[in-house]
């Protein structure tokens, strides 16, 4: 009896790990590209929020979840376009610009939510039917692994099997990826070679926003089925920490994301079992772990040299 219980627990844990890691992973991959171009974008939380909100509204009003996801992705990209304008064109301090984007997104989504869903109150929030998990035929019947790896949301498959290898290929096997990496290390060198640095940074930010938007849309359309202003709950910040912890390398970032997903799922599972421990304290674990990660991960060698420094042609 205990064995079955343990196996079930383990399966839920590992399968939950992938599921919970997905939104953070999307955002982290997007932020990786942004930071490789030299921009330290702190507005990830805001972009995820935009994606979550617009995704939810889109899905709710049109009835199509995928349309919601698409709209959420666009919303994230659009918000980061604003970030690009402020930090690349105007060269506003990147930290200030990113924080501003967060505050702006929080205010705007909060306000628009109140307007669009006027009739609803906090006791009856608007909700929708979320995505269904996609069980890959045959593979998902494999005991244990089938449950864990092959019964996930389509968005999760996309994140781990499409976006991740895509980003790896882009960064290390294409000339555009090489240019991008060089821009993050020495934008002046690339400028003098005729590479349009601003264009790369704009595109990187838009891509990053789209990824963050996808992550946010995942939270409302696959996980929760509803929208509250606190739904992102700091995951945008955790995504930024994961990029540092993963030393700006795609596969290590994946490992870091999975680790966080594991921890988060763990505390959920513990609650479910009914262990006598204040669940709120368990909830602090991911945040404390992020602090630890940032504290020990700081000496990473992989940080782009020009990260966070606006490029001004002299």
């Amino acid at each position: 009896m205990n064995d079955i219980f343990q196996t079930v627990f383990l399966i839920s844990l590992l399968s939950g790990m992938i599921r919970i890691a997905t939104p953070i992973f999307f955002a982290a991959l997007g932020e990786l590209i942004v930071e490789r171009s030299g921009i330290l974008n702190l507005g990830v939380e805001g972009a995820m929020l935009a994606g979550a909100f617009v995704g939810f509204v889109g899905g709710f009003l049109t009835g199509s979840l995928w349309l919601g996801v698409l709209l959420g992705i666009m919303a994230g990209g659009l918000l980061n376009l604003l970030m690009a304008f402020m930090s690349v064109t105007l060269k506003v301090d990147q930290t200030v610009a990113g924080l501003t984007i967060n505050l702006f997104s929080a205010g705007l989504t909060f306000y628009l939510f109140r307007i669009i869903f006027k009739g609803f109150g906090s006791s009856n929030l608007p909700n929708l039917h979320t995505f269904n998990v996609i069980r890959i035929p045959i593979l998902s019947s494999i005991p244990f692994i089938g449950e864990v790896l092959f019964s996930q949301y389509l968005l999760s498959y996309i994140a781990f099997l499409v976006v991740l290898p895509g980003i790896f290929f882009f960064l290390y096997r294409t000339k555009y990826g090489l240019n991008l990496r060089c821009i993050g290390e020495n934008p002046e060198a690339m400028d003098m070679k005729g590479v349009k640095v601003s264009r790369y940074q704009y595109l990187a930010l838009i891509f990053g926003g789209m990824m963050a938007g996808a992550g946010g849309a995942f939270l409302t359309l696959a996980s929760a089925g509803l929208f509250v202003s606190e739904i992102i709950g700091g995951r945008g910040w955790i995504a930024i920490a994961i990029v540092i912890f993963g030393d700006w390398k795609p596969f290590r970032i994946m490992l870091a994301a999975l680790f966080f997903g594991l921890l988060d799922t763990f505390q959920l599972q513990i609650q479910g079992i009914g262990v006598q421990f204040p669940y709120q304290i368990l909830l602090t674990l991911p945040y404390i772990l992020t602090i630890v990660a940032v504290a020990i991960g700081r000496r990473r060698a992989g940080a782009p040299i020009h990260l966070g420094i606006p490029y001004k042609r002299k």
Binding site: K175, R181, G194
Partner: protein, 529 residues
């Protein structure tokens, strides 16, 4: 060579373009007609007209601020000229971007290297170049680069990471970057700044090979001896104007110096030596390592006495920065001692070193020495802000601070309206004066001066040198770290050479020559019989 000046005004030569013969016109690869470029408050290029012949090495000579780099950047597409025309290979061209220049075959190597340290030489060369497809064919690119290297006799390990290469070799990566994309015309901005005299010889011989193969080169420099050594013709610029273009064979260094500065230039050394006092700073057996335990400084032994200047010569990147940081207290020692007036201050933090009487002039005044957005008075008290003389009780007394600042501004001839003026409105020379005022007013026992005249015009250089000599004569011991051999020879009582973190030699100035020092700078020790 260092020069001191006396004031005799000489006018700029009027701009008359003489008609050229057919052969001369065919030979010209680049022609600039009345090019002007200005920035807010500064006319950097004023109706410049010149032409470059194919296969020549043409030097662009002038002091800092003459407008040489601006002209080059206009030719490379970094800046758009306000007016004037550029003709390349006979046709008028508009260089709106670097891409335009590169596709015409114009390449530029800037004063400050633009390399990506964590990547390999090949990656640095290939990145950003235009080629078909989305992938990178490193093998093909490597073959092409190897061929270029063979052609000109350049030796370079192509798969090494930039950060592992010595500075002299990094220079070649910059040039290969241009040659790889087919440059026929090279703009080289102060390329010998980081080379030893021997490396400069080798560099020039390869340049000559290139021009014989058909390349044309503009070499920007402020070093008269290089102009004489390598150029076919030289164009002298001063304060944005073109003074003259002459055949190098027809002029002397004195002619050029006069054209460069506009005043009668006199080669004088007015450094009257004084007998030294007791030892103020002694460094013995200093070993410094970095976080990965790689040796940065090895077996450093130096002694500086009061009333003397020790000049530390060396190409940048050979440990000067680490030595500076150690003496100032910002970097830790692995072993060895630093004694200040016989007191052991090894590994003391910066605030202790400051208090004990060590003053310092950093090599990059803007990045390391000044608070640019702050007013002059805040910069002057930086480091001594806790002194009771600036306070009434626990709060600052602005009247006392202002009075102090005004006094310093007077003493050091700092051209500004008031101490409240922001420092980022000051010129390079005035910025350095602010730093001098600050450091000298702290009555130091010992001054560490790193590249104190970098980027300054001749007038400011003269002033700084005078200040250093006066300070020395007043009883302070000075360690002068400089890449300008002329400055070292002019000011120092003793010369030491640093190479790869070790002291290569130490002797009185009068007992050595530029050639000897140059050898040591390149790491070639004298063989002792």
């Amino acid at each position: 060579m260092m020069v001191l000046v006396q004031d005799i005004k000489l006018a700029a030569k009027p701009l008359i373009l003489l008609p050229m013969s057919q052969e001369e016109i065919k030979e010209i690869i680049l022609r600039v007609e009345n090019l002007s470029k200005s920035f807010p408050g500064v006319l950097a290029n004023d109706r410049i007209s010149l032409d470059i012949r194919k296969g020549e090495i043409h030097c662009l000579l002038g002091e800092n601020g003459a407008g040489k780099s601006t002209l080059a950047e206009c030719l490379y597409g970094t800046y758009h000229p306000d007016s004037g025309k550029i003709f390349f290979k006979g046709e008028e061209v508009r260089l709106a971007s670097h891409q335009d220049a590169i596709s015409l075959g114009i390449g530029m190597v800037h004063q400050h290297f633009q390399l990506v340290p964590p990547m390999t030489v090949m990656e640095n060369i290939v990145a950003g170049t235009v080629h078909k497809g989305i992938g990178i064919n490193i093998r093909q690119a490597t073959e092409k680069v190897e061929k270029i290297c063979r052609n000109y006799g350049i030796e370079l390990p192509l798969n090494n990471i930039i950060s592992q290469l010595p500075v002299g070799q990094q220079q070649w990566v910059e040039i290969l970057k241009a040659l790889y994309v087919g440059a026929e015309f090279l703009l080289l901005d102060e390329p010998t700044a980081v080379l030893t005299p021997q490396e400069i010889k080798r560099f020039f011989s390869i340049l000559t090979k290139m021009t014989r193969a058909g390349l044309s080169i503009i070499l920007i420099t402020h070093k008269l001896n290089e102009v004489m050594d390598i150029s076919d013709r030289v164009t002298v610029m001063r304060k944005g104007k073109l003074i003259d273009t002459v055949d190098t064979a027809d002029v002397t260094q004195e002619n050029l110096a006069r054209m460069m500065v506009g005043r009668e230039v006199v080669f004088l050394i007015t450094n009257e030596k004084v007998p030294p006092g007791e030892t103020v700073l002694e460094i013995s057996d200093l070993q410094v390592v970095n976080a990965k335990h790689r040796s940065l400084l090895k077996d450093i032994n130096l002694r500086v006495r009061r009333k003397e200047i020790i000049g530390l010569a060396g190409v940048s990147g050979n440990g000067q920065r680490d030595l500076f940081d150690v003496i100032v207290g910002v970097r830790k020692i692995a072993s060895g001692k630093i004694l200040l007036d016989q007191e052991d201050v090894s590994n003391s933090p910066p605030w202790t070193m400051l208090k004990k009487g060590i003053a310092s002039i950093p090599q990059d005044r803007i990045e390391e020495g000044l608070l640019m957005e702050a007013p002059i008075y805040e910069n002057i008290i930086l480091g001594i802000q806790r002194c009771a003389q600036f306070r009434s009780g626990i709060l600052f007394n602005r009247r006392k601070i202002n009075a102090f600042s005004r006094e310093k501004m007077r003493d050091f001839d700092i051209m500004a309206g008031s101490p409240l003026q922001r420092v980022d409105t000051l010129s390079g020379g005035n910025l350095q004066k602010v730093i001098l005022a600050r450091e000298f007013s702290q009555n130091p026992k010992f001054l560490l001066a790193s590249q104190p005249t970098r980027g300054l015009d001749v007038g400011a250089i003269e002033y700084v040198h005078k200040c250093l000599l006066d300070l020395r004569n007043s009883g302070v011991g000075i360690l002068l770290i400089s890449e300008e051999l002329g400055e070292i020879f002019h000011l120092s009582d003793y010369i030491a050479v640093i190479y790869k973190g070790e002291i290569m030699g130490f002797c009185p100035t009068e007992d050595t020559t530029v050639e000897e020092v140059g050898l040591l700078m390149a790491g070639i020790r004298e063989s002792t019989p």
